[in-house]
């Protein structure tokens, strides 16, 4: 079985994240980046499926030069191969364009099982799995908190707001997993060394039979017109509880602000 994990390289959420002033896109070049934390759950799922049967796990990423780090992390965790789609024309692509690039690459890879995380930690739209499923005409079972692969059937449990559902589909298929699905493994020393010898291919838009005018900022179907940093919250009142004084002051605050 050919398992492909779609992984995203994102700015580190614990560092300073910002927008490029010239085109209001996320600054990915001048900041520390890494494999989106939520995609680690997708890598773990793929590795578990591989280990419980047979298969080969490929990490696929679309992004600038540095995005190769996201592929490397997946290989260190235990994936077999990597594909990095990189092309200057991709800069500024929105979710619709990104899903087009991924779909072409997934078709070229002839994927049986496509695994996504639940969303990226930067854009966070969580819409690309559904878009890829739509483009490839494959079934999608999304936001799985528990995943079982049984022959050709993929079954997930999805914990929604109003119900916990069991959802199933047949391979080939698009799967996304939540952060409840598993506990992603840390790369071992052996894994880190082995990753250096694993094959990583670099593809351009031309390799996917796409042209620059189909993707990127100039053909994005959405545009950010204004970016404003949130003003820092003004310092609040902090009291220390002594023999119930904290509770009294808390209730007084709630009362003064009409929450009672």
């Amino acid at each position: 079985m050919k398992i492909v994990v779609c992984a995203k390289f994102v700015p580190d959420a614990t560092a300073d994240r910002r927008f490029r002033s010239e085109d209001n896109t996320v600054d990915r070049a001048g900041v520390d980046g890494l494999l989106s934390e939520l995609d680690e759950y997708a890598v773990e799922t793929a590795l578990t499926v591989k280990e419980s049967g047979d298969g080969e796990v490929t990490i696929l990423t679309v992004g600038p030069e540095q995005a190769a780090d996201a592929v490397k992390k997946g290989l260190q965790m235990g994936a077999d191969a990597g594909v990095h789609v990189v092309d200057d024309a991709i800069h500024g692509s929105d979710a619709v364009a990104t899903s087009l690039i991924l779909s072409k690459a997934l078709a070229k890879l002839d994927a049986d099982l496509v695994v996504f995380g639940m969303g990226s930690t930067d854009g966070g739209m969580g819409v690309v799995p559904a878009m890829v499923s739509e483009r490839l005409g494959l079934p999608a079972v999304t936001l799985g908190s528990e995943v079982t692969v049984d022959g050709q059937t993929v079954r997930i449990r999805r914990d929604g707001d109003t119900a916990s559902e069991t959802i199933e589909g047949t391979l080939p298929l698009v799967l996304s997993v939540s952060d409840q699905a598993n506990e992603p493994r840390y790369p071992s020393f052996k894994g880190i060394m082995a990753a250096k010898k694993k094959p990583v291919e670099t593809w351009s838009l031309a390799d996917l039979e796409l042209t620059a005018d189909q993707v990127g900022g100039s053909s994005a179907w959405t545009e950010v017109v204004e970016v404003t940093a949130r003003p820092p919250r003004s310092a609040g009142t902090i009291v220390t509880d002594e023999d119930g004084s904290g509770a009294a002051e808390l209730v007084e605050f709630l009362s003064t602000n009409k929450f009672l």
Partner: protein, 319 residues
């Protein structure tokens, strides 16, 4: 005026508050046309009319509920082809976003998700506001291609009534076999807590690692305030509270009038989900906890002592 499609979010005909918000927003952009999928359209009609739906398009094909989201996206595509809307508004929950994603590909249209405000803008179409990067930035965006498809978060607008008496138009949709490949085989409804819905609540009381696994004081304080209960990722990962109540980057993003964080340190993960709350209150033993950087009012103290005393006092004052 142009038509604006609103996908009705409902449970067996009981219309959710988010739908009233979507209809209110739709009236800023044009004439709201409600699209109702499933059983119970007659039950929903009064609420849809109250908030200004000029027409209700009802889709009752049973295949629409049996198979995940793909058939709903197909149905909306067919409705859009007939109605030719100037925008499509959908609730920003897991299902709504997936429907919107598929629709964007089908209609060759731009998609904006998680809007916290939508205004008419100029002739170029609606302008949306989104809160990004853990609430550290606010961005305004617009769709530049096709029919703007916008998913809107709860509390993005205050529902304003505008009484109409909409007609119901039954609409036949044909669902392709390709859309019927992912099937719901079992559904266990979540037990009702009797508390407000987390994403819609005006007040939320959340517990974290500091509860030590005992959410009793958090729930009691929430109930005294008529609040919803939330939990931090640390509490959910420890198995102390169900994931459906998690507030944060991988849970719910909430923006209530009042957010009370009890025993929550305030990691970036959590801040991402609550930073845009109007008023923030924290109770934490650790005076150095980063949550205190965000608060309007903070108590350095043990939640197991502070909350029960506060609950008693609130109950007394409300009586």
């Amino acid at each position: 005026m142009s038509n604006v499609l609103v996908l009705v979010d409902h449970a067996a005909g009981k219309v959710r508050k988010t739908t009233a918000e979507l209809l209110t927003i739709a009236r800023r952009l044009g004439e709201p046309v409600a699209v109702f999928v499933g059983e119970g359209v007659q039950d929903a009609l009064p609420a849809l009319g109250q908030y200004g739906a000029t027409k209700v398009i009802a889709l009752s094909n049973p295949e629409l509920s049996q198979f995940l989201v793909a058939p709903k996206a197909e149905a909306l595509q067919q409705v859009a082809a007939k109605v030719e809307p100037s925008a499509i508004l959908i609730s920003s929950n897991a299902e709504g976003k997936e429907i919107a994603a598929r629709l964007a590909v089908k209609l060759d249209s731009g998609l904006i998700t998680d809007a916290v405000d939508v205004q008419a803008g100029d002739s170029a179409g609606p302008v949306t506001t989104q809160s990004v990067f853990a609430g550290n930035y606010t961005v305004k965006s617009k769709v530049t291609h096709g029919t703007p498809i916008i998913t809107v978060k709860p509390n993005a607008a205050t529902p304003e009534a505008a009484e109409t008496s909409p007609e119901v138009e039954e609409f036949d949709v044909s669902i392709s076999d390709a859309a019927k490949t992912a099937r719901i085989t079992e559904s266990k409804p979540r037990e009702a807590t009797g508390r407000p819905e987390l994403t819609e609540a005006a007040i939320i009381v959340s517990g974290g690692r500091g509860t030590g696994g005992d959410f009793g004081p958090v729930e009691a304080f929430a109930d005294s305030l008529g609040a919803a209960v939330g939990a931090s990722r640390a509490a959910v990962d420890s198995g102390w509270y169900p994931h459906a109540y998690q507030v944060g980057q991988t849970g719910k993003t909430v923006s209530p009038q009042l957010y009370v964080a009890a025993g929550i340190s305030g990691a970036i993960q959590h801040r991402a989900g609550m930073q845009t709350s109007k008023t923030i209150v924290a109770v934490n033993k650790d005076p150095e906890a980063p949550i205190f950087e965000l608060v309007d009012f903070g108590v350095v103290g043990d939640l197991h002592k502070v909350l029960p005393t506060a609950t008693e006092e609130v109950t007394k004052r409300k009586a």
